[in-house]
């Protein structure tokens, strides 16, 4: 059973009287794309926060590749192969797109106690950064300040940065949030292209994205996982339809 890349057992987190995460169990295998859906306030971002290391669970455990990472600091998780994108775009606004990705690469390429050489001139950083920007269709915008990129472009930049560390597991918090139809389609297509080579946990509201990408889906309601299964199984699940999908999903 422990061929799972990520194993979450009985995870609990409360904020005062509010049970944001209530005995959550989750197992994601290598190469799988696993979606987490649920109504607003269900605790999806809190769950991602605990997986990424920003929040400490009250109890329960998180194992990544067999190692207990429950209390491991965020930056160390990145070096274990766990990478995330943020729901509310969180890039370096006064760095260019290229510098954003270049820095994400720098974090994993050698050490950063270098005081002399301008980082801008380091090909070992900028070449792979450009490659990643190409992958997300941003290479023409490489020198634009992140603050001046369109919203959708910033979301693409987020993904590029998440990929910079060549992660084994990608935590994507609402990757298509706030994107128009065309942009969403492109992003979904891009993520579909990643399937298989990367393991992904996807938190999403956009049902098109979810059903197009997910191998398995977990449904989170009031901090509890009420159902886990393939898209077909979830669609057919009566409890899920009542709680979330609506009767005509």
């Amino acid at each position: 059973m422990s061929s799972a890349l990520l194993e979450v057992r009985q995870l609990c987190k409360s904020f005062g009287a509010l049970r944001a995460t209530d005995q959550v169990d989750l197992a994601v295998s290598e190469g799988e794309t696993h979606a987490i859906i649920g109504p607003n306030g269900a605790g999806k971002t809190t769950l991602i926060g605990q997986l990424a290391g920003n929040l400490r669970p009250d109890s329960g455990s998180i194992h990544f590749s067999g190692e207990d990472v429950t209390r491991l600091a965020t930056h160390k998780r990145s070096h274990r192969g766990l990478s995330r994108s943020f729901q509310i775009t969180s890039v370096y606004r006064n760095f260019s797109a290229l510098e954003n990705v270049s820095l994400a690469i720098q974090a994993h390429r050698g050490h950063s106690f270098r005081f002399w050489k301008p980082a801008r001139t380091e090909r070992v950083l900028t070449d792979p950064a450009l490659e990643l920007l190409k992958k997300v269709n941003l290479e023409t915008r490489a020198d634009v300040l992140a603050a001046n990129l369109a919203h959708g472009e910033q979301r693409q930049l987020e993904i590029a940065m998440a990929l910079a560390s060549r992660p084994r597991l990608l935590l994507l918090d609402e990757p298509v949030a706030g994107m128009g139809i065309e942009e969403s389609q492109r992003m979904i297509g891009f993520l579909a292209g990643l399937k298989g080579s990367a393991t992904m946990i996807l938190v999403e509201h956009d049902m098109d994205a979810v059903f197009a990408l997910a191998d398995r889906i977990s449904v989170l309601v009031y901090g509890r996982i009420i159902a886990t299964g393939t898209p077909a199984e979830i669609r057919a699940n009566a409890e899920v339809r009542r709680a979330y999908l609506g009767e005509d999903a």
């Binding site: 930056h75 994993h108 270098r114 005081f115 980082a119």
Partner: protein, 319 residues
């Protein structure tokens, strides 16, 4: 064609280089003194700019390192160790060590806590300085002898000293410029810009911030060594928190996170102070005797209305 801001910087440096001959020509040695003072404070300000301007670390205790540098030189001179080759590295080293100690505790905190803690530690050093009775305590004491560089340069010669400070200023401006654009500098700026993002990509801000804090402290220690040789007097007031406030003001006024900012800010503040205190254009009773009142008002107005500082007037793209 270099950016407008670079041109301004070179112009400023050229002006500074021209001051000694001009001062001699017009027989106004006072200006030699004033501009040398401006340059020394520029060095202190540029060290603060590294951590505050680029790193967002609002250290209210930076004047402590001016004091440590000054006292290192002053105390050694008191015991007749006047070799600058010994004193100045010690001043820098002592400042670095204390910065490491203070930083190790303070940098674990952030925001308002960090401000208060750095302030509190500086005051601690200030009170410690006052308690050192053999070195003048509250009143301070005269510097026994200026630092001696075995004939290479004579600090008693105002012009030679002036050009030494100018040379050091140029070197340090360049050094900090390289640091800011290096991998290290990028991490510092990134951690300031978006700390959560920085952790997410795999970097913990703490070690880098601590290193920056130590570097800034060391540079400021050198400024302290220069300052005590300049004033020929040693006093705990070098470490007073109002001095820290002045340094911060210089950084803001000049424009944070710019290369020429600290220089512009130091010049502007010191020239303003000098003008308020000494200008014949201003009434003595109402203005000159109480110049700090007007300085305070200027400070408030600048903070409220002139966010980008003087360097912002020559603004180009963000650096």
């Amino acid at each position: 064609m270099p950016a407008p801001r670079t041109l301004v910087l070179f112009a400023l440096l050229a002006v500074l280089a021209a001051v000694p001959p001009l001062a001699a020509a017009f027989n106004e040695p006072f200006y030699l003194d004033l501009f040398r003072r401006i340059m020394i404070f520029s060095i202190a300000a540029l060290s603060l700019n590294l951590i505050l301007g680029y790193g967002g670390m609002v250290s209210f205790g930076h004047a402590a390192y001016l004091g440590i540098g000054a006292y290192s030189v002053g105390i050694l001179a008191f015991y007749d160790i006047t070799s600058g080759w010994l004193q100045w590295p010690l001043a820098i080293g002592a400042s670095a060590i204390l910065a490491a100690a203070i930083g190790a505790v303070s940098i674990r905190t952030s925001g308002i806590y960090f401000i208060m803690i750095t302030l509190a530690f500086t005051q601690m050093l200030y009170y410690f300085g006052i308690s050192l009775e053999e070195f003048g305590g509250d009143d301070g004491m005269r510097l026994k002898a200026k630092s001696d560089f075995s004939g290479l340069i004579d600090l008693n010669d105002p012009t030679a000293f002036y050009y030494l400070v100018l040379a050091l200023l140029v070197v340090l401006l360049w050094l900090v410029h390289r640091i800011v654009n290096s991998r290290f500098g990028r991490v510092i700026r990134a951690a300031h810009s978006n700390e959560a993002r920085t952790r997410a990509i795999g970097l913990s801000p703490y070690p880098y911030r601590l290193a920056a804090f130590v570097i800034a402290g060391a540079i400021c220690g050198l400024a302290g060594a220069l300052l005590v040789n300049h004033t020929a007097y040693l006093t705990p007031d070098f470490m007073n928190w109002t001095r820290s406030g002045e340094l911060m003001f210089m950084v803001i006024l000049g424009g944070i996170a710019t290369t020429s900012g600290p220089l512009l800010g130091a010049a502007a503040l010191l020239l303003l102070e000098d003008w308020l205190q000494g200008s014949d254009l201003l009434p003595k009773d109402w203005v000159r005797d109480h110049w700090q009142l007007y300085l305070g008002l200027v400070l408030i107005l600048v903070v409220v209305f002139a966010k980008r500082g003087l360097a912002g007037l020559f603004a180009g793209r963000h650096e």
